[in-house]
Subunit: 330 residues, 2 copies
Amino acid sequence: MGGMDGTRFDVVGIGNAIVDVIAQADDAFLERNGLIKNERRLMDAAEAERLYGQMGPGIEMSGGSAGNTMAGIASLGGRGAFIGKVADDQLGKVYRHDIRAAGVTFDTADLTDGTPTGRCLILVTPDAHRTMSTFLGACNKLTPADVDAATIQAAKVTYLEGYLWDPPEAKEAFLKAAQIAHAAGRKVALSLSDSFCVHRHHESFLALVEGHVDILFANESEICALYGTDWDGAVRAVAGHCEVAVLTRSEKGAVIQAGGESHAVPAMTFGPVVDTTGAGDLYAAGFPYGLTNGKSLVESGRLGAMAAGEIIGHFGARPQKSLKELAATL
Amino acid sequence: MGGMDGTRFDVVGIGNAIVDVIAQADDAFLERNGLIKNERRLMDAAEAERLYGQMGPGIEMSGGSAGNTMAGIASLGGRGAFIGKVADDQLGKVYRHDIRAAGVTFDTADLTDGTPTGRCLILVTPDAHRTMSTFLGACNKLTPADVDAATIQAAKVTYLEGYLWDPPEAKEAFLKAAQIAHAAGRKVALSLSDSFCVHRHHESFLALVEGHVDILFANESEICALYGTDWDGAVRAVAGHCEVAVLTRSEKGAVIQAGGESHAVPAMTFGPVVDTTGAGDLYAAGFPYGLTNGKSLVESGRLGAMAAGEIIGHFGARPQKSLKELAATL
């Protein structure tokens, strides 16, 4: 079913297709394995094998930042597509099943060269903090050829996760998608993903935001890392760099900077906060869903706050309730 | 480290090595797919593929009745081994990792004929009931050759799950293990697993209990199905058929029948009941752990009730807390 503007999708997300492996660990385990609490780092196959061998029993679920965002768009009733690389293995099948079962179109071809599907080993310490080590695997093989032009052209917004700046060829895929989107008169959105990622790619992220991004998502530590300054300085700095900036600060709510105006949107919760993983991913679902469905900046912000509020009320970064039904109660 | 009686293990469990895939579903979904709520049924590869394709997004975690039991034994500080069949695929690696990470010895060789690791599609309805459809996969290829005599001889108790009566060759593996155990002067324990399983194999289960089982675990519906009678009748009937019978009735507690005596053991909980899956598996961990570590029947029953009480306080059928530490608080 196409939109009046010829679109088939509200948002197409491009990101690392990652299966999360979640296990409990204590602080001594992190130290013994050279891990820094709350850090999100990359590891190669050998290190992934070694760390997994040390870890306790886990549970597996589909994740990936943009994948979580797209599951959120679908849960809101939006029309979403996902571009990302999984292998033709069991975890790849799980990933494809889960995102399609959520209602998202996902047609990127399987990788068949023997590289396994990417995974993220998530260690949860007793203080509920999460330390993530990602083995990119098949994600490293996302190339510009995987960016289907017709899909990008048919989406009101192309949404890119900052983590895509890690796999070398994904960067090109990312830029190709942005160019196609802009040539078709569509918008490009980017999430900075995490402050470690911003530090890893500082200069190129700055150039990217200035040159290619219409809608920017960042939390406090990310936007401060990007501009090398404090919150107030960063809020001022971003205003000139992209059309819309959605800057989130956990329980302090968000600031939306757009066209010289600044809007504050309070945070939302539904019961106790259980696990903050995915809050940013889901904010980045609610906001563009609103924008592409005729809502104002502030109404869209409220949808972002709502989607983030649902996700932090339970473990895992994919919605457990229908966000569409939840939105009807606002 | 060996025991004074030359044992290396308190318990060796033999069972179907199954990865659980858990997803939400509504009653209409069950009906549309011909599923009966609370039923545990078997399905072939084609049906597994079809049902998975219909299901919502899932989470994956290692399960299997005897596997859950062995993880419980290890959590209690017991010495456990597991015999079961996984494939040399990603889910098989997940299964092997999880049970070893729990502290259980698991050395059964991978299946390499292309049959995938078994899985159980678990649909959770809004009323918190669980409907399970199992694709046995590699479990169907457990054979007597997988029963390592040295492991059985080195374990005080050989524990068998009733579900093993489903895969054809596993039955022989099961009987071989019982014979080796008895020849070495060890005990054989059996869990009836579920009432649907008892109905599927009624006659042979009766013969098995009479001929080969020293310690029987059953819940109310299972023991009633076995003897085709009500609770009181079943409690009387089982007394003559095996040395020890542990009969559980959820919140009503358990009855232990042994040597003409009958002991009532109350149920135990630690906070609200969240998910009763695995209660029987964990009762069957606490009880034999107690028996093989010098505890009385009633003390062993209390350990069973405690382990079951921990597991029903959270989702999933593997312990989240150290059962050894929990036992120290009793």
